[in-house]
Amino acid sequence: MSLYGESAIVRDPAAAKPAEQSYSDYARAKQRRLRLRRIIRGGIGIFAILVLWELMSRWFDIELILPRPLSVLRNVVTTLLVQNRPWLYGPNIYVHLANSIARAMTGFLLAAAIAIPLGLLLGRVTSLREYILPIIRALYPVPGIAWIPIAILWFGLSDQAVVFVVFTTALFPLLFNTEAGARQINPVILNAGRCFGASGPSLFFRVVLPATVPFIITGLRISLGTAWRMIVAGEMLASQDGIGYLLMQSRFQFRAVDLMTAMILISIVGYLTERLIVDTIEKRTTEKWEVQSG
């Protein structure tokens, strides 16, 4: 007999199924409602911004500085359809986007390949943390843009310089998050793992890594955003193509409409890469290890 009504479930399993079914239907319906609400609210927010933008461009009437939203949206479409004339920015938009994505992803993946293992090590090995963390903390305040001159000096005006700048700026948020996650694992969880016979690599892969995942995911999200911000700054100064270069060129050409188009494209690509990379990693890891991401 159970004090919690389990006996009823045990006594009549056929009756329990519809109850579970109706609960999951309710949960799904609730999820749908929440998603719809999010979409509507987000849509209203975007619409409000567009209306405000339209009003401001009408009010100030300076097409040179603030083109109307409709002209910008039209320009986004013609740019994506490669029908924008005159096109003053060298190769078509897809070449610029592909080059930017390649540079951003190279820098970001390099940063992840170093920051995640190093962060885990620093978080778990106190002596190593005491040696290395002060150096990292000293480098962290150097703004990403300050790495550009030294990157040009070391790598010349090349892709490597931009990748290096992306790497340096994407590294720190991920490293600090991973280190904090690994350091703050509840000792009770570790001891529980040990009690179940886990030690060495098995303790690491079954306890330490899953417990750090939410922190790593947050770090990845921040680092990817930073990578996109820096790719634009790097390409503005040390590159001859890419979306940052396009942005700079359109400024020199006094084409605010192209400038805003480039900004919108950066926003779209940044959002898509985050959804594709971070959300996929998050889903795979949190589902596998049954942990909740922040």
């Binding site: 005159p86 003053l88 005006l157 001859q240 060129q249 400024r251 020199f252 006094f254 605010a256």
Partner: protein, 338 residues
């Protein structure tokens, strides 16, 4: 008491009127000038300051500096009404006017004078000495430019257009970098050459980093390019309309400075130039063969600029076909003394 009070009130009123009048006169005579600094192409401005030409013409200048390669920023400030005059724009003022015309608005900026006559140089690394443009155009060379809107690039494109060529047809890769980094980049072989002003060219030659492959002043880019002002002096049309006399006196001050540049001993002008550019006076003295600091915009040179550069900008789609000479130039201020 009453008489005393009345006289006090009258004196105060007179003082207020005098101050108000003085304030107005000062406001009318004050010009907010944006200028590329430190940069040899705008040195005529500093010569005018140092020789007292602005004072002599009753002009008080409020200087707003812009770094090399950021010529576009000056024109942006001119458009926003934060400057009255800008020295440094080449193609930027023309592009800004074109965009305004495309939007159905009048051109907001007028080019009123020009300086740095024929000041475009193309430097190449020593191993290319003896080669011609035809021999080099199909080589994948990395050529430095200060910005994609660089006036030197516009001039070069104008020259290529006369030869039925475009930069897109050549194999050169144009690399944007600040003027100050061009010589080190050439020395470290990160660049094969660059297009820039006379000072950067002279620094590269003195450092034996390269040789002058082409120079518009000596006629390598054709006769038209010899007389072209590279640095245009632009003004907000709103300012010109409100203060035409001030604008004329400002230009007159630059013309007076140009006369000083012609007549003063080279060593003295080199010193002023060194002060403005933070460079060695010896270097400045040696660049004067390939540099002309005077303001010299005439109807003829403005026409040449429009035919040479305006046509190239139109052909590339950088400015609209609707843009006319009068949308860009206003020569009524160019030689106010005459």
């Amino acid at each position: 008491m009453r008489v005393k009070d009345a006289s006090r009130i009258a004196a105060a009123a007179l003082l207020c009127l005098a101050l108000l009048g003085a304030g107005r006169a000062q406001a009318a005579d004050k010009i907010r000038v944006g200028v590329l600094k430190p940069n040899v192409v705008t040195v005529i401005y500093w010569i005018a300051v140092k020789t007292g030409a602005f004072e002599k013409n009753g002009i008080e200048v409020e200087e707003k500096p812009f770094p090399s390669g950021q010529s576009v920023a000056g024109v942006e400030q001119l458009l926003r009404g934060n400057l009255d005059v800008y020295m440094g724009a080449g193609g930027e003022a023309v592009r800004a006017n074109s965009q305004s015309i495309v939007a159905g608005k009048p051109a907001p900026i007028a080019v009123i004078q020009g300086t740095d006559i024929g000041g475009t140089s193309i430097l190449m690394r020593p191993e290319f000495e003896g080669k011609t443009l035809d021999q080099l155009k199909d080589q994948p060379l990395k050529i430095g430019i200060s910005s994609p809107s660089s006036i030197h690039l516009i001039n070069f494109r104008g020259y290529l257009a006369e030869r039925h060529l475009t930069t897109e047809q050549m194999k050169w890769q144009l690399v944007s970098l600040e003027g100050g980094n061009m010589v080190p980049a050439l020395l470290s072989k990160q660049l094969d050459g660059f297009m820039h002003d006379a000072l950067t060219a002279t620094l590269a030659v003195n450092a034996k980093a390269g040789f002058v492959f082409m120079n518009s002043h000596r006629g390598d880019m054709g006769d038209k390019a010899k007389t072209l002002p590279n640095t245009l002096i632009s003004a907000s049309r709103a300012f010109l309309k409100a203060h035409p006399d001030t604008a004329k006196r400002f230009v007159q001050a630059l013309l007076d400075a140009s006369k000083s540049y012609e007549t003063e001993p080279k060593a003295k002008t080199a010193e002023i130039m060194a002060d403005w550019t933070h460079s060695d006076p010896a270097v400045l003295a040696s660049l004067q063969d390939r540099f002309d600091a005077r303001v010299l915009l005439t109807r003829q040179s403005a026409d040449a600029w429009w035919e040479f550069n305006g046509a190239t900008l139109k052909a590339r789609g950088e400015i609209d076909d609707k843009v006319r000479f009068d949308d860009i130039f206003d020569l009524s201020y160019a030689s106010p003394g005459k």
